[in-house]
Amino acid sequence: MIDERGAVKVVIDADLCQGQGRCFSIAPSLFGFDDLGSGVVLGDGTLSAETLELARLAQANCPEHAIFIEES
């Protein structure tokens, strides 16, 4: 369960991302890409209960282990 006071966010570590392109194809509502093809988080990355599952799926498909889900 997501605590009402603490937000859960998804972030991409730009140093680890190599533009494999998995996140934005699996979860286009959460991730986009820049002009070099690197993955970028759309908006501030705050996740709801539903989008948390999607973010986890993207995370589990990133070959570079560049996606992190953080509780603030």
């Binding site: 533009g19 820049d34 002009d35």
Partner: protein, 402 residues
């Protein structure tokens, strides 16, 4: 075929061109993973093969210990003369940091999702035309008549070479691709007409600049200076060599799989929404591309005494079958949800054409199965596989059932 001595033990004397490896490498890799997991050979002047995902991953990301100056394993070694630093023969794949990043950033925008996705209608039309060309044939060689012809037509267009040259271009590309395994002198000889053709195209683009990759490269600058001619030429060669038989192999291997697994074929036909996960499983299970690195200096690595200029064969296809990372790694699961495959490599040299490769693979499969919802192998014995670091079927006769 080759006249080399047959391999008795792949753990101590492996050769990736041995017929057993060429025909079916997967049991060899599984055995090596359990026994080694880093295999060695004295062939090619000394080479190592990490069979595990962990080993492949470490080497791919360690640009301090390993150099990319040559990524195709052979008997020779690059010298300063034939690979002028820091550009390398085919930047950025043959470049190391820090020049690598500069050369890579230059061409990344051209292969980013936005410009690549815009090519979809043309690729779809191309696939449809190739299928029209074989209409009515009971047996279609899906490798020679279909998969082989898709990538060069796309690359020719991206480079902005004349459409009328498509056939000529396809022939030339295959000369380059096949010449990779030849001895140095023969390779240089094979390259002459290609170099002449490219030089003419470069001159034409200098006189008549237009919106294509060749003009883009000619106008590109590093630190306020135009690229060296060798850089432009090297990157064009890279785009050809890396963009043609790789995707040809992926399309061919995927159709080879579907021809033998009617359940998977039926699911793809009936559940088109599966296509994106299926494509990733095709890429995992039949990853076509193996790369190579050279050891920079003597080092103890992965428990092995590696010597300066030893090769490391970087088996991304083997890493993709490692059960430590993939559940049921030896099973093709068309709707595999979690799939951290490394078909496009890992780290800073991630395949720059991955967006294009995925698009071509998806569209090629979609168009083929839409036209032919059921097909099977015409004759298993007629299927042949390529030899070397790119693996895919080179003859693939399919019997069309409907």
């Amino acid at each position: 075929m080759n006249d080399k001595s047959p391999v008795v033990d792949f753990a101590t004397d492996w050769d990736h061109t041995d017929p057993e490896w060429v025909n079916d490498p997967y049991p060899i890799w599984e055995d090596l993973r359990l026994r080694c997991p880093v295999a060695h050979t004295d062939r090619y002047g000394g080479a190592w093969f990490p069979a595990s995902h962990a080993g492949v991953s470490m080497v791919a990301k360690d640009t301090d210990t390993f150099t990319s100056r040559s990524v195709v394993m052979g008997n020779g070694r690059p010298t300063d003369e034939d690979l002028p630093a820091p550009i390398g023969l085919a930047p950025p794949i043959t470049s190391d940091p820090p020049f690598h990043q500069i050369a890579r950033k230059l061409i990344l925008p051209a292969f980013a999702p936005r410009p690549i996705n815009a090519l979809e209608p043309q690729i779809r039309a191309l696939c449809a035309k190739l299928l029209d060309d074989v209409v009515g044939q009971e047996i279609v060689n899906a490798s020679q008549s279909y998969a082989r012809l898709i990538p060069p037509a796309v690359i020719r267009q991206m480079l902005g070479f004349p459409e009328a040259d498509t056939e000529k271009f396809i022939e030339m590309v295959h000369v380059i691709v096949e010449a990779i395994d030849l001895p140095e002198e023969e390779r240089i000889e094979q390259f002459v007409p290609v170099e002449e053709y490219f030089t003419r195209q470069i001159e034409d683009h200098q006189e008549n600049p237009r919106d294509d990759l060749t003009t883009f490269l000619l106008n590109a600058e590093i630190g306020g200076e135009k690229l060296a001619v060798e850089h432009v030429f090297g990157t064009m060669v890279l785009i050809l060599v890396a963009g043609i038989d790789t995707t040809w192999s992926a399309v061919g291997a995927s159709l080879w799989h579907l021809a033998q697994h009617p359940d998977d074929l039926a699911r793809l036909v009936n559940e088109p929404e599966l296509m994106s996960v299926a494509i990733e499983e095709f890429l995992r299970y039949y990853a076509p591309v193996t790369m190579a690195r050279l050891v920079k200096q003597d080092v103890e690595y992965l428990g092995c005494p590696m010597k300066e200029y030893d090769w490391i064969l970087l088996g991304f296809p083997a890493a993709n079958r490692d059960p430590v990372v993939f559940k049921d790694a030896d099973k093709f699961i068309i709707d595999r949800a979690e799939n951290r495959h490394v078909a496009f490599g890992l780290g800073i040299h991630r395949c720059i054409g991955s967006n294009l490769a995925r698009l071509e693979l998806r569209v090629a499969i979609e168009e083929f199965i839409q036209r032919y919802p059921t097909f099977e192998l015409a004759n298993q014995n007629d299927v042949t596989w390529s030899q070397g670091q790119i693996r895919g079927p080179r003859n693939l006769p399919l019997r069309i059932l409907a």
